[in-house]
């Protein structure tokens, strides 16, 4: 049994403009010791999906369907108090994107970490404090005893993120959710933080969900990757497999548009247009409006996730019974060259 099994999760926001289907039928699993990358453009519903796991969605948002099995128990059936006392911070903890604003400016870093420990564990204030100092040491903050007495504004961005990681580790959770933890940081600091994640994963023996829009970062930390598009999972595979053999047209486009050191900007191939609104998503396959290889059937029903390889699935009709099994986009390169709207091009 996997540590975390998310099945058919749906989180909707009931706004005045309409129902925002931010997460619409998302399923994924996280094995013990594994790091899952949740990748997608901004607005794909990644953050909403991970917040839904912990019941952190505030009105007008609601988790309307699906199950979140953590160690066999369904967290969606937990009461708010149960989540607060038995899950959040202790079993599953979160690291947010912007470390500066995620820390409370008027309390010292040590106070904020020890507060979590004191709240969840039956320890004295002194014990919690010295544990907080230990944790700061573990995440590579020099002079942890002095630093614990300082306020967040006295920390650099990288140090603040380390402090938040220390906070996430404070009750030794089984699962850490990192929501774009390096997006707000410099690239050099980002590399250090990614190294730190590697260290703590072994040292604390924890699983991770790593949310990011950056496929380059995914390579550094993730074992498996699930690609999200407009509230749904488009493709899911072990990292190496996904990188070498992307199946879903969206993943292929995403890989072609990723900046890396060995690729010039003019070689990049950005995805045309922008993501449609999650209030009125396209019928059928949600990617079809931007997909160069979409055909008539794509608008009919949501494509199921077809197995396309070992431990590899893609939600694209090209791999279904009526499909041709391969949109052949990755090799031919340019989208729209004779393939638009007609199905496969062989």
């Amino acid at each position: 049994m996997a540590l975390l099994e998310v099945e058919d999760l749906r989180t909707y926001f009931y706004t005045e403009e309409g129902i925002v289907q931010a997460v619409d039928g998302v399923s994924f699993e996280v094995e013990r010791g594994e790091t899952l990358g949740l990748v997608g453009e901004s607005g794909a519903g990644k953050s909403v999906a991970v917040k839904s796991l912990l019941g952190l969605i505030r009105p007008p948002g609601h988790v309307v369907d699906g199950s979140v099995r953590f160690k066999g128990d369904d967290l969606t059936e937990y009461s708010e108090a149960q989540l607060r006392n038995q899950v959040r911070g202790t079993e599953i903890s979160v690291i947010f994107q912007d470390p500066m604003s995620a820390l409370n400016p008027v309390f010292t870093v040590g106070t904020q970490i020890s507060e979590i420990i004191e709240h969840h564990r039956d320890v004295t204030h002194e014990a919690a404090w010295s544990r907080a100092v230990e944790l700061l040491d573990d995440v590579g903050i020099p002079d942890p005893a002095e630093r614990a007495d300082q306020y967040p504004h006295e920390f650099s961005g990288g140090m603040q993120q380390r402090a938040l990681i220390a906070m996430a580790l404070s009750c030794e959770p089984d699962l850490i959710i990192a929501d774009e933890p390096t997006t707000a940081l410099d690239v050099t600091i980002q590399a250090q933080i990614l190294d730190l994640f590697d260290d703590i994963k072994t040292k604390y023996d924890t699983s991770m969900i790593y949310v990011t829009h950056d496929l380059g970062v995914v390579r550094e930390v993730c074992d498996r990757v699930s690609v999200m598009y407009l509230g749904e999972i488009a493709e899911s595979a072990p990292y190496e497999e996904l990188y070498r053999n992307p199946k879903h047209p969206y993943t292929q486009a995403l890989l072609r548009s990723t900046v890396s050191a060995d690729r010039r900007t003019e070689d990049l191939d950005p995805i045309e247009g922008s993501m449609p609104s999650a209030i009125h998503p396209p019928s059928g396959c949600r990617y079809r409006t931007r997909c160069p290889v979409a055909f008539e059937d794509c608008s009919r029903g949501e494509p199921p996730r077809f197995d396309v390889g070992p431990d590899h699935d893609a939600a694209c009709l090209h791999y279904g019974d009526g499909g041709d099994g391969d949109p052949k986009l990755h090799e031919t390169g340019r989208p729209g060259t004779g393939v638009g709207g007609t199905g496969g091009d062989r």
Partner: protein, 316 residues
């Protein structure tokens, strides 16, 4: 140490400000139309008596000489002489300080915690029934002029139902019960607008803080909502409120002028009001300087409170 030096520096800065306040007030009272001697002597005074008084109070001197004379007395610690009452303004003020301090102090002590509690409550119930009710009450309290509220309270609770006395003042040292009964209506009048203003500010400040990321962090780590509200968000929400809390002390000063007049309370506000009607230069200038000192000290305390609550602010 740096905080100590900062405080000294700020206290020294009060001196030029007071000089400005004095000069402005002096110019303004002397450019008022009318003649204080005429007001003092009534409708048809004898010319001889008037001339004598004018000479006696130095009103026949050129204005710049009167100004320098006044300034000289000020530097010696005398904030003015009341020529209508023939006594030093300081003495008059000290006599009337008791009622004003009691009135203002109690109003403030009631308004401050009530407003903060209601504001936090409304923010916690954001956009639900409790929030709407407190916001409505806040708006109503804010929009009610204190002189109208005072008169309505007298009409209802004093004239119609005779629960509280309509006017007068009894020192709490003499008779605590009678004193309290006399104070209820004036304090209600004075505290309503204060509470309403601060409550609305507290609410919006709290609502804003509750949408901050650190609140989400605290929730994600399983801290109880009550603790997040009262410890994490409130401490941050207080920062913009400190200025308002400090400034409200001065709003109380001008509120007391109206309220003391309505309820016939022999306090400083009433002294100032009557001084103004009599064109008593000494009382007007003296009270103005005194209020300015209070105000400046209030502002200084506000700034010091900032340094205490917000670790990001350091004075050096």
């Amino acid at each position: 140490m740096s905080l100590y030096r900062y405080t000294i520096r700020r206290l020294l800065q009060i001196i030029p400000v007071l000089f400005g306040v004095f000069t402005l007030t002096f110019v303004m009272v002397h450019s008022m139309p009318g003649n204080p001697v005429r007001i003092l002597l009534g409708v048809s005074p004898s010319q001889q008596l008037a001339d004598e008084l004018i000479r006696q109070y130095g009103f026949d001197q050129p204005l710049w000489k009167q100004y320098l004379d006044y300034l000289w007395r000020l530097l010696q610690g005398n904030i003015g002489e009341s020529f209508t009452r023939n006594r030093p303004v300081m003495e008059l003020m000290l006599e009337r300080m008791g009622p004003t301090v009691v009135l203002m102090g109690v109003s403030y002590l009631i308004a401050l915690p009530t407003a903060l509690l209601l504001g936090v409550y409304a923010a916690a119930r954001h956009n639900r029934m409790g929030d709407h009710v407190s916001r409505f009450l806040g708006l109503a309290g804010l929009s009610t002029p204190n002189f109208w509220l005072g008169l309505m309270l007298i009409f209802l609770l004093s004239y119609e139902f005779s629960i509280f006395p309509a006017s007068g003042y009894v020192s709490p040292l003499e008779d605590p019960v009678a004193s309290a009964r006399h104070l209820v209506l004036p304090i209600l009048t004075l505290a309503t607008a204060q509470t309403a203003t601060l409550m609305r500010m507290t609410r919006s400040s709290m609502v804003e803080e509750l949408s901050q990321d650190y609140v989400e962090t605290a929730r994600a780590f399983g801290l109880p909502e009550r603790r997040i509200l009262l410890r994490h968000a409130f401490r941050n929400a207080l920062l913009p409120l400190i200025t308002i809390i400090g400034l409200q002390l001065s709003f109380l000063l001008d509120g007391s002028v109206v309220v003391e007049q309505i309820f016939a309370i022999p306090g400083m506000g009433r002294l100032g009001y009557n001084g103004l009607l009599d064109q008593d230069y000494g009382i007007i200038i003296g009270l103005n300087i005194f209020f300015a000192v209070l105000f400046l000290i209030g502002v200084l305390l506000t700034d010091l409170a900032y340094a205490y609550i917000d670790p990001r602010i350091r004075y050096d």
